[in-house]
Amino acid sequence: MIQVEDLSKEYDAPSGKGAPIVAANQLNFQVASGEIFGLVGPNGAGKTTTLKMICGLVVPTSGSVSVNGVDVERQPEEAQRHLGYLADFFSLYDDLKVWEYLDYFARAYKMDSFAIPKRVEELIHRLGLQTKREAMIGGLSRGMKQRVGLGRAIIHDPPLLVLDEPAAGLDPKARVELKDLLRELQRDGKTIFVTSHILSDLEEICSSIAIIEKGRLLRIGRLEDVMREGKAARRVRIRLAAPGFAASEWLGARAGVSSVATANAEAIFSFTGDDMELAELVRGFIGAGAPVCGVEEIIETLEELYSRVSSDEVM
């Protein structure tokens, strides 16, 4: 769906001093149809710039982007037919009614004029805006405005949605609703390219992610692959029924075990072996007299992965 090749964007710092800012540095990636693709990075990493280049709102210094096989720079209007966009600091026309707003963008996307009223009503129902149909947008809550904004992005039924921090500023309930809506859109066959600071949200919905920092991609791939990538060892926690056993010494002497830490009747360590070897290790540990009452693998969260990668632990 999205093909990004050698995409770079350089510009001067707003102060005009110092080296130019490289918001995107030779980015290369693809997003397959039907994916929810998350782009993660700190403020100023180049997420929004990358996203705007995908939409054709910012011209790259070099490189190219194609959406659904259409070059965004050469045929922007054709490419934009295939995508819907929602910005981070989104703003709507406060003086329009909800239906007028959706109607305007349906016309602007050159939808069939006979199909527009039906599509507008359909979206108003889908987004739960029935009671706000005739309301002025200026009087809506932020959550409602976000729904209207999302409605605008999907009014022309594009196969690709590009969303910049869609959950920013939303309360927990609205965030849950947003995630449900995105999953629903994915089920409808949409491809979703999304950035977010709320990594737990991305972890729940994304099928692929990329981590970007200072304009460079640090990691990219299927979520589970990225989570696993760069990790030579898994982290294992063994809980003991009572303290007193010299777990640290026993584990430290075993092959494949490293970084053993013990505290409060539990031992956490890195282990390079597979599941069978772990089972063998645990059996030996119990055989040595350890009062084992629980064994679990510590699953790294996206936030932990992100802080590990962005602090150059793996690089």
């Binding site: 005009g16 130019p20 709102l57 210094t61 070099s62 209007e77 966009y85 239906w99 602007a108």
Partner: protein, 511 residues
């Protein structure tokens, strides 16, 4: 979704503006206010103690209503247009329009006609009383048609300019754009009938003269009330205005259309050839409407008389006007760091070589030479009194003019490639400081005497304007030396620009 279906045939942007500005409540308010205003005007002009006879009162009422309509449409509508893009950029809604499938022309026309929708409504609401007044004052339908054609087309032209300013104005530049727009309106409302141009005023306020010309004639005008002179031929000013409004609107809308969906960092007002075409068109207007006479006043009543212009004075006048036009063209040609960096990354070494470093001189020099040739040809055709001027002197003045443009815009292009918050504004400021300092030094060193003109021309090429044959024959070598030094100065900025291009061509980490 209760609008009649024909509205859907218009551009969605026009519809959006209409929906926002013409809500029922607002329409009612406008209708009530306009009705009250109309009734008050009728009462004042017809029934006040100082009321004139009905024919005159109706004419006064008509005049007042037309002035009001012009002011509302031209200035009010202009300010709406000035806000249209600028406000969207501030609200962050502009990107959503850029990303739709609306064609640039649809977006531009939608804003051009839609942003001032409320002012069109006000004009419409004032129409009934205006038409009744016209009927009572026995103003012909043809005159009415001319009046409203001028008002409508003129307003659209100024609105197109306002829309362009709105698109180009940087954040925080809204007040400056409004001020600039009002200055343009004010300057174009000055009637130049008594100047070196045989042409009446350009603003829609001329509509006032269409119906009042037979009543009051400006004694200083020296032109028939509704006619101009183009290449010596008498032409109706209304026709001239219509042609000018249509062509100017086309050029302004072209600029808006070229840029409205672009990334603002790579705005390019016109393609170079389009900019050059616009400048040539303006030069053609200047040459065509030039009176080839200069006004002077005779005491004690200071009535304006005209005497034939000399060739030298004509060339100085033309070069002075062309300088301003080419200055605007030059600014439109300048490339910023973003555009240059992009060119270099796209085209490689070729975009940072010597040929690239002479930008924007080729267009400026070619345009200046073509303009100079046209000026000299027109002088030969229209001026009998050569005085102490000849063609060689004329060519030399054109050469100084072309090199002056090349040098100063070479400098500004180099400055525009510097890092900084507003490098171009800084460059312009330094240029002004340079000319002020140079002028002061020249006064101090007594270089304003005629014999020192070649030395002055090294730094201030305008010293060559007004050159005569005596000065040329007595100091030909010095003048050629000054010209050569001007070439060297121009190349200095080419060299500096090339260095800047080389820096930009390096990978970003090395800059």
């Amino acid at each position: 979704m209760s609008e009649p279906t024909f509205i859907g045939a218009f551009t969605p942007e026009l519809l959006r503006n209409g929906r926002i500005q013409l809500r029922h409540g607002r329409i009612v308010a406008v209708v009530v206010i306009c009705a009250a205003l109309s009734l008050s005007a009728v009462a004042y002009f017809f029934y006040s103690p100082s009321a004139a006879p009905s024919g005159m009162a109706a004419l006064d009422l008509f005049r007042t209503m037309v002035i009001l309509q012009i002011a509302v449409l031209l200035i009010g509508g202009g300010i709406y247009c000035l806000q249209s893009v600028h406000r969207e950029k501030d609200l962050n809604t502009f990107d959503y329009q850029r990303i739709t499938r609306l064609k640039p022309i649809e977006l531009a026309v939608g804003k051009l006609l839609g942003a001032p929708a409320l002012t069109y409504l006000i004009v419409l609401c004032l129409m009934p009383v205006t038409l009744v007044a016209a009927f009572v004052a026995q103003i012909s339908i043809w005159t009415l048609v001319q009046v409203y054609l001028i008002i409508l087309l003129g307003s659209i032209t100024y609105h197109a300019l306002a829309l362009l300013l709105s698109l180009l104005a940087p954040r925080g530049g809204s007040a400056g754009a409004v001020l600039f727009f009002l200055i343009v309106v004010g300057m174009s409302s000055i009637d130049s009938g008594s100047s070196v141009f045989a042409m009446h005023q350009l603003s829609p306020f001329f509509a006032m003269e269409v119906f009042s010309s037979q009543l009051a004639r400006n004694p200083f005008q020296m032109l028939p009330p509704l006619r101009d002179l183009f290449l010596g031929q008498s032409v109706p000013h209304v026709l001239v205005l219509i042609v000018i409004y249509v062509t100017f609107s086309a050029f302004f809308v072209l600029a808006v259309t070229r840029n409205i969906k672009r990334d603002p960092s790579v705005y390019e007002i016109y393609a170079p050839w389009q900019g050059l075409a616009f400048v040539f068109y303006l030069i053609a207007l200047v040459l065509g409407f030039f009176r080839w006479m200069i006004p002077f006043q005779i005491p004690p009543r200071f009535a304006v008389q005209f005497r034939p212009i000399t060739a030298g004075a004509a060339e100085v006048t033309f070069l002075g006007i062309a300088l301003w036009l080419f200055a605007i063209f030059g600014f439109a040609l300048l490339r910023n760091r973003e555009r240059v960096r992009r060119r270099i990354r796209r085209h490689g070494v070729a975009a940072s070589g010597w040929w690239a470093a002479i930008w924007p001189s080729p267009y400026l020099i070619a345009g200046a030479i073509a303009t100079g040739v046209a000026i000299l040809a027109m002088i030969r055709l229209n001026v009998e009194d050569y005085g102490s001027w000849n063609l060689t002197v004329g060519v030399l003045e054109v050469a100084f003019f072309a090199l002056w443009l090349a040098r100063d815009f070479g400098y500004l292009q180099w400055m525009n490639l510097q890092k900084g918050r507003r490098p171009l504004a800084t460059g312009v400021l330094y240029l002004i400081i340079f000319y002020v300092c140079v002028s002061t030094c020249m006064v101090a060193f007594d270089l304003y005497k005629p014999v020192a003109a070649p030395y002055r021309a090294i730094l201030m090429p305008s010293a060559a304007f007004g050159l005569d044959t005596d000065a040329w024959t007595s100091a030909g070598g010095l003048w050629m030396g000054a010209l050569f030094l001007l070439v060297i100065e121009s190349f200095l900025f080419v060299w500096l620009q090339r260095r800047e291009l080389e820096k930009l061509a390096r990978p970003s980490g090395e800059i």
